[in-house]
């Protein structure tokens, strides 16, 4: 499902070009609008779709599994700190809306000061664990957290 750009919405700001991990969103030399230079290499990460302030980027479904056209569109609202999705099935009957937080604190205010943390001691360097791993994965807080230790169980099938 490679991305494509609605030319009437794009204003050529370059946020998609900046964020694309595959470096395939470029600014067109003639019309100065963004476009996907290599759709084959697009892995549908949706980074550009979410970053676009104009909602000018969409993702096209391949004709073999989305012959009648479906729609997966997203609005990432930084000021509200949420991401909203709208998923329309190809028969048009199912129209789902989802909303989830993407931050709980204002952006840029809670960056962990990792450079101020104490350097790892030699025994930590020789360990198979990564720096600060027991603390960060909460292994020192009653062992490794599992579904069982949290009173949960894995159910069969697809469920929401």
């Amino acid at each position: 499902m490679p991305t494509f750009v609605y030319m009437t919405r794009c204003d050529g700001c370059g946020h998609c070009v900046d964020i694309c991990p595959s470096d395939i969103m470029h600014i067109d030399k003639t019309v100065r609008r963004a476009y996907n230079i290599e759709p084959n290499m697009c892995w549908e990460c949706y980074s550009c779709v979410k970053a676009c302030p104009m909602h000018a980027i969409d993702v096209r479904g391949y004709a073999d599994f989305a012959p009648l056209g479906h729609s997966v569109r997203v609005h990432r609202d930084e000021e509200k700190g949420t991401i909203a999705w709208r998923i329309k099935f190809r028969n048009g009957k199912k129209d789902m809306e989802l909303l989830a937080p993407i931050t709980t604190k204002p952006w840029g205010t809670c960056i962990p000061k990792l450079s101020e943390a104490a350097a790892p001691a030699n025994d930590m360097r020789d360990s198979e664990l990564l720096f600060n791993e027991p603390k960060y994965v909460r292994m020192d807080d009653g062992g490794l957290h599992t579904l069982e230790s949290n009173g949960l169980e894995l159910k069969e099938g697809v469920y929401y």
Binding site: T8, G14, K29, V31, H55, K80, W85, E97, L99, W107
Partner: protein, 277 residues
Amino acid sequence: MFTSNPFSELTALISPEIMQGYIILMAILVFLGTVLDMVHKKSAKYFFENSKKAQEAAKRPVGAGEKAGMLVATVASEVLTSSEFCYVPRRISHLLTMYGFVIFVITTALMIFGADTASGTLPALWHIGALMLAVGGYWFWFFIRVDVSAEGKKWYELCRADIFIVSLLTMATFALLWSFTRDVAGWGMLFFVLFIISSTTLFSTVLWSKFAHMFFKPAAAFQKRVIKADESRENLPPDYDLTDPAVQAKFPDIPEYMGKNPPNMGLGIKRELPHHY
């Protein structure tokens, strides 16, 4: 000099009828170029198909009165103040260029078609228009356009995308130079010829330049408002009010993780301008 009509002295050399004919020819070229551009890029076809699709997906009807209101809002916001641009310097440069161009073209036509220029207002406006066009245009050309600011392209490396901006800039520049040197033998005529070459290029290359954006951009901005009003939103999710109890009941993650009245989180990736490519 600033308040004298540069075209009145020209009548000794070129008859007013020829000048008027030139203006009409340029208007016809713009019209033909825009129509050909729409046919070639299928932009009008795309626009109407898209608007039909939006109408089919509409959740509520939008009346003619509401549409008229949206038309006024589009003109007041997107057209007159270029509100589409998020980046402030680009918006200011666009406004200077746009108003400069409009003032310059209208005053040129008025002066050539024999409007009274005795008070000096029209020639002064003509010079101001050309200056605004030059200031906004050169600012864009040397600092703002994406090839320069992001791709490190030199200002003198031209490509097809530059037809519009370069012919606009040369038209304004040579118009001013012609006006200031028209008493100097040789130079005045040279700048006048360059001015005419630039303006002819600008108005006759609509099919290959982005000149037509001034017609389809307002239409696209209007359509953006319509899809919000009829709630089809081009399949985009709604703009939720996080403090609304109905939204909080539908999406319990919001009050659980963000509280019942989430603060404004400020800007995330948009704190930095995109310039890393």
